[in-house]
């Protein structure tokens, strides 16, 4: 059987249904048994700016996107201008033939720096600044062109179905685009029809018109398009496969972990998680009455964090979800939670900083900020998930850590996670254990919330519990929680709280602290969503006989120095790969382990890494041709 690795790209103005088209494509391919890795890119804009979706389809497990696009489908000029170079030789472009004469200057959303670069390239090749011009270049690159007038498809369909409204219904362009694509690669048409039906199951009228359009477009492609080198034949579907969006991993993890309270303030790319939790606020509970998650939209992130803490004090598993700017606002309260030993989980879907940065773009910018967030010394856990599947189970761990060690836990996620759509094994909630640590079910007399104990963790009462009265304060306090400025008590209390860091390292299993994918002469350290492209890149190199090691850091604070050192002590060359400017994990590594990073592969363009570019850089390193700092740039 030939190996299938196919990347489809669809683009269009925000609001034109690019995401719906990509959902249809992903779902159809997943139904046919393929593995999916899809990623959405969009501007901080509601309508009009360019957005696009790349869906990588393969018949084996994939963890990332690649540079090469096999088939691009566009119903607007901007997508062609921005992405024509990404289509590989032998690949194809389906485009709206009505656009051929469109000039770059007619596309107002093409920003000046991009246009300047594009014009330079076209000038070099002596091509006009039009769609026809860039298509000539594509053709010279060996790309096959599939012109079709989207408007005439609508017109013909409108006549055939005797539905005059359809003629002007340009919002059907997305369905036309995806159906043409599926026709071209010979996907079974019935799956397309079923997928549309299921997506519009609540709106039968809309489903019908979409199905008609899909059917017509699909048949148009099979009948009228020239043959294409690539087909996606039906393959064997692995049972128990789900198609999930990134934010669903932590959201479903929260439901399963017993998180019952989540206040939040809207922020990209974090809000989707909270909205999804609220959409599913009523929960089915095994052998019990229904449960629920109270999802509260607050006036700001400060209130979100305050409510999270207030709720956690009642014994409720509580979390909030935010991104860098919101997390920045929460940090004073983070210290309060640390001081008062309150278990809370903050899910941090990072994006490109600093400040508002690139609000809808990717970045692993907040590692050091999270590790050092808050004034003063207090214990906290910073924990990072690599892949989306992992984030479901990690969410369970984060709540357990919070409860067991009575510390705030910052769960690091990012925009790459949030707007990816992938196939993975169905999540298994039974694998999520629930450990509430020293949370009390009943309280004996003479209760002191911050009692000194052998392991530095005190039994925890909850607001409203019989006999469990305690006091909290952000001031230094005595065992009851009353303010104290006594110097001796101060030292004891600081030592008690901070001793938690050693306890965490001692009690969290090594495999949850860091994951070793093998140790080689050249070994990578990386974290978070970047693990995906790194895994695929290593795999590619392995096929060429080049073995590269990889340690995925998950526990980032406290830093598992001894364990990581034991893994990497004999490694000759250490490569740090992450999506920020300064190599934040590398800095943390140096600080804790005292060893310099030999090479950095970094990306901070706001676009996630592809495995192709990680592969290229790693190869350069192995061939001794790399700079100490390799900065990746792929992606529009």
């Amino acid at each position: 059987m030939s190996f299938v690795d196919f990347t489809w790209l669809i683009g269009g103005p925000q609001g034109s249904g690019v995401e719906s088209a990509a959902n249809i494509f992903s779902k159809v391919c997943a139904e046919m048994g393929y593995q999916i890795f899809g990623k959405r890119e969009f501007y901080s804009n509601i309508k009009g700016e360019h957005s696009y979706f790349t869906v990588r389809v393969a018949d084996k497990k994939i963890h990332s996107n690649v540079n090469d696009v096999t088939l691009m489908t566009s119903f607007d000029a901007e997508t062609l201008f921005r992405h024509y170079e990404e289509v590989m030789s032998g690949g194809g472009i389906i485009y709206d033939s009505d656009l051929e004469e469109t000039k770059t200057d007619a596309v107002h959303t093409l920003d000046a720096p991009f246009k300047e670069r594009l014009h330079k390239k076209l000038e070099l090749k002596n091509k006009p600044f039009t769609i026809a011009g860039i298509l000539e270049v594509a053709k010279e690159n060996g790309v096959k062109l599939f012109p079709v007038s989207f408007r005439s498809i609508l017109e013909t369909l409108s006549e055939e179905t005797e539905n005059p409204r359809l003629k002007g219904l340009v919002r059907m362009f997305n369905v036309i685009g995806v159906s043409l694509s599926l026709g071209l690669v010979k996907m079974p048409p019935d799956t397309l029809q079923q997928t549309i039906e299921s997506i519009f199951s609540k709106k039968p009228e809309i489903a019908k018109i979409n199905q008609q359009t899909a059917n017509y477009s699909y048949n148009f492609a099979t009948a009228k398009f020239e043959s294409f080198n690539y087909a996606l034949p039906r393959t064997e579907k692995e049972l128990g496969t789900i198609l999930v969006q990134g934010f669903q991993g932590t959201a479903l993890g929260k439901m399963a972990s017993g998180c019952r309270f989540q206040p939040y303030y809207p922020i990209t790319p974090a809000s989707d998680e909270s909205v999804y939790l609220e959409t599913n606020e009523i929960l089915e509970i095994i052998d019990d009455r229904p449960g629920s998650t109270a999802v509260i939209q607050t006036e700001d992130e400060i209130c979100a964090m305050g409510m999270t803490i207030g709720s956690a004090l009642t014994g409720t598993r509580s979390a909030t979800c935010t991104s860098g700017p919101g997390f920045a606002l929460m940090t004073e309260m983070l210290g309060w939670a640390g001081m008062n030993e309150v278990p809370v989980v903050i899910t941090n879907y990072q994006r490109s900083g600093p400040s508002t940065g690139l609000p809808t773009r990717h970045g692993q910018d907040d590692l050091l900020f999270s590790v050092y967030a808050g004034h003063g010394d207090f214990p906290k856990i910073v924990y990072a998930s690599g892949e989306i599947e992992e984030s479901f189970y990690d969410t369970g761990n984060c709540f357990n850590y919070a409860d067991i060690f009575q510390v705030p836990v910052i769960h690091m996620m990012d925009k790459f996670h949030a707007s990816s759509v992938i196939t993975c094994k169905r999540f298994d909630p039974q694998k999520i254990s629930i450990n509430r640590g020293k949370l009390l079910e009943k309280v004996d007399d003479d209760y002191r919330r911050f009692e000194f104990t052998d392991d530095g963790v005190s039994p925890r009462s909850r607001l409203g519990m019989d006999n469990g009265i305690f006091w909290n304060t952000g001031d230094e306090s005595d065992e009851s929680g009353h303010i104290s400025e006594d110097p001796v008590l101060r030292v004891k209390m600081m030592d008690k709280r901070m001793s938690r860091l050693d306890l965490i390292l001692k009690n969290i299993p090594n495999t949850e602290q860091a994951v070793s994918f093998g140790i080689e002469e050249y070994s990578i350290i990386s974290w978070g969503s970047t693990i995906g492209p790194v895994l695929d890149a290593i795999d590619l190199l392995k096929k060429e006989g080049i073995s590269i090691g990889l340690i995925q850091l998950k526990l980032l604070n406290p830093f598992p120095s001894d364990y990581v050192n034991s893994l990497l002590k004999d490694v000759k060359t250490i490569i740090d790969i992450e999506a920020n400017h300064s190599g934040q994990l590398g800095k943390l590594f140096k600080q804790n382990i005292g060893r310099d990073i030999d090479y950095f592969i970094l990306k901070y363009s706001g676009r996630a890494m592809t495995s192709t570019e990680v592969y290229d850089s790693l190869k350069k390193i192995v061939q001794n041709k790399a700079n100490k700092r390799e900065v990746l740039m792929h992606g529009a």
Partner: protein, 320 residues
Amino acid sequence: MALKLADYKTDVHNDWCPGCGDFGIVNAIQMALAEMGIQRDKAAMFSGIGCSGKTSHFINTYGVHTLHGRVLTFAQGAKIANPQLTVVAVGGDGDGLGIGAGHFVAAGRRNVDMTYIIFDNGVYGLTKGQASPTLKLGEKTKSLPSPNTNSNVNPIGLAIASGFTFVARGYSYDVRHLKDLIIQAVQHKGLSFLDILQPCPTYNDLNTRDWYAGTDLVDEAQKRHSRIYKLEEQSFEPVVHYDSEVEVNEKLSQALIKSLEWGNKIPIGVFYKNGLISPYTQRLKDKIPNYLENPPAKQNISKNGHSNTDISKILDSLEV
């Protein structure tokens, strides 16, 4: 077992200045709790930062001394997670109307069933007497280098505009009246606000106990009268009785006009009370039918150490 006033006091040393108005407020809160017979472990006092922030340590219930300006956020979180708790939040006027003003307004929109008490003295005491949001423009309390350059916030007016459904003012040296107000506030179903005039003997040399008592005012008959008077003694009717726009607007506007009175006549008592607006817990119940019987804090989340939440239907819908 019936609880006595003494049961609501802790033995924590109280380090407020001698003569501080805060003492009267703490006493009134303790008296109110005792009179209502609220079990100590079913009540939680939340406090902000500043002198008033220490209040939670002096009251023998659950006590959560939070952060500057943020007390309402913690308190609302606790009340929503465990609606069976009696929640009272306290803080200074700088805390609630300066740094915390955003939360003050947003809390009004939510109408969570709890009580918020502001200790209103016109100065930031614990940082040595800077001007706070309720100090009037041009006034110069003793540690200010120059007169106040900001206009003041009208706490009662802001509470009314923000949607608080019970709005009242008390005076810290009229402890019995204050205790009654606190009882009414706690028993009100919705978010209640109490603005408590509280002389700071150390830093506010303008709005002193004597000033409130009107010792500087002499009427035509050479008789002194207190600046403070009680709304209920003037047959002021603050309660919204039926849900009509005319009724609500009338009660809101008379309260707002009353809130502007200051100077030689300062009203205390209930300005506005509307029990017809749904408390936040009711709004949640409308979405989550068993929310009140099975709120977040009461839910059982595990079985034999494993998740007992059944998300299989959601997972089914994701399956391909």
